[in-house]
């Protein structure tokens, strides 16, 4: 299953990553099926972001493999990038460009027509400030603008790193509609979270990272919550 279709949207096996002498991932294995939304839980520094960045082709693993729809994230990086939508912890915007210019840049880089820019701004509720520079934006507005980049096109795999931080109720609703939209078209999502509450009802199951490994003993929080209710 080196390329083409696969029954796994994300397939991570024995992943190891170190920064200097510190091992952040120590043989992580996980899989996400198409149409599935998986929550990745764990304390700060447990390696959630690192897994997402490896799957998004931004980091190379020291050991193990990761695949997206059967494509290897190291060997077939370009093809993987075309399929993956990644929301980083930091917004990664250009402060001296306006909101619209930031999105126009993203559309150019993604090879999308310029018409999607305004629709996307409308969708995240920033059409009113489209011509203001990002430098004056609040943290919440910046996150919405970063999110707007994901609405420019429809990826098959979503990787979201703490998407709910700095967002109000309407923002949470936006994230959930984004995830819902992707999943309905057969896509998958891997979402790093520190609390389950905002994503409840959307997440199919959770995995917990402890010291760079998936903790098999931890209960699936979604299932547990359902059982109690």
């Amino acid at each position: 299953m080196s390329n083409g279709q696969s029954d796994r949207a994300i397939d991570v096996s024995g992943l190891g990553k170190r920064f200097g002498a510190r091992w952040v991932l120590r043989g992580t294995t996980l899989a996400v099926r198409p149409g599935e939304v998986v929550g990745l839980m764990g304390q700060n520094g447990s390696g959630k972001s690192t897994i997402l960045r490896i799957v998004a082709t931004l980091l190379k693993p020291n050991a193990g493999t990761a695949q997206v729809n059967g494509l290897n994230v190291v060997r077939d990086a370009t093809a993987v990038r075309a399929q993956v939508g990644y929301l980083a912890h930091t917004p990664g915007l250009y402060d001296d460009l306006t909101a619209r210019e930031n999105l126009k840049f993203a559309a150019d880089m993604l090879g999308m027509p310029a018409t999607v820019v305004d629709a996307s701004l409308e969708r995240v509720g920033l059409a009113r400030v489209a011509h203001e520079r990002v430098r004056g934006f609040s943290a919440g507005m910046e996150r919405r603008l970063a999110l707007a980049r994901l609405f420019l096109r429809t990826p098959t795999v979503l990787l979201l790193d703490e998407p709910y931080s700095n967002l109000d109720a309407a923002g949470v609703e936006l994230i959930n509609s984004l995830i819902g939209g992707i999943v309905r078209t057969g896509g998958a999502a891997l979402v790093a979270l520190h609390e389950l509450a905002p994503a409840r009802g959307l997440i199919d199951r959770t995995l917990t990272l402890v010291e760079g490994r998936i903790d098999a003993a931890r209960p699936n929080l979604v299932g547990a919550a359902a059982g109690v209710a």
Partner: protein, 228 residues
């Protein structure tokens, strides 16, 4: 169609970098002011004899260009690093060389504008007469600028992400630019004189060959260098 998408990416990156520079202004003004200041200091150190200054003008202008140019290259990657924009930039689909080409184009415009100011200042401050062969002289300057920008942009893509980037970039870049410095200064000097020995032509060919070789080499190598 793929090349059209790639060209669109290249333009987008160059336009984005230049818009940022234009809006902050501090960057370009600072770099250009530094270039002129270096010229003034060289004039003070070498003057006040007019003939000696005219003789040293070409060298002074190129040195000022190199020292001020170094600041521009680290800046162009700083924009990506400060706001964590490098990750999204690397995550976009499409070949990585488009990132290099875009940065290159942006830096080329930036450094060309700076060089225009430094050369104008050099002509005034050092009392250089403009020769009849000035279009060729412009060509020499352009070839020199391309060499400087190609290697400067390439090395800055690494040095901007390392420790001690202020030291590392000149350490990597300046020895590599020796042929550019020699070619550009000697050809410029020859053109400012009468070029009796017809040596400018040989230097122009050397500069052109240098630019071509390193344009190809850096485009090939960039893909290996940009990833984290």
């Amino acid at each position: 169609m793929a090349w059209r998408d790639d060209w669109r990416r290249v333009r987008a990156i160059a336009r984005k970098d230049l818009t940022t520079e234009l809006r902050t202004k501090a960057g370009f003004n600072g770099v250009a002011a530094l270039g002129v200041t270096i010229l003034i200091l060289l004039g003070l150190a070498l003057g006040p004899d007019g003939a000696a200054l005219r003789n040293a003008a070409v060298g002074a202008v190129w040195l000022a260009t190199l020292f001020a140019g170094v600041l521009a290259f680290n800046r162009s990657f700083q924009v990506e690093l400060e706001s964590g924009a490098l990750e999204p930039l690397l995550q976009y689909p499409g070949p990585r060389w488009t990132i290099f080409a875009g940065k290159l184009l942006g830096n080329l415009v930036f450094v060309t504008a700076m060089v225009a100011i430094v050369v104008a200042a050099g002509v005034v401050l050092f009392g250089v007469g403009i020769p009849a062969t000035w279009p060729t002289l412009v060509g020499v300057i352009a070839l020199g600028v391309v060499g400087l920008v190609v290697l400067g942009t390439f090395y800055a893509s690494m040095s901007s992400r390392s420790r001690a980037r202020e030291v590392l970039l000149p350490m990597l870049l300046f020895p590599m630019l020796v042929p550019v410095l020699l070619g550009a200064t000697t050809a410029s000097k020859a053109l400012l004189g009468a070029d009796l020995m017809h040596e400018a032509g040989a230097w122009i060919r050397l500069l052109a060959a240098y630019d071509l070789v390193f344009l190809i080499a850096t485009f090939v190598a960039f893909e290996h260098v940009i990833e984290s």
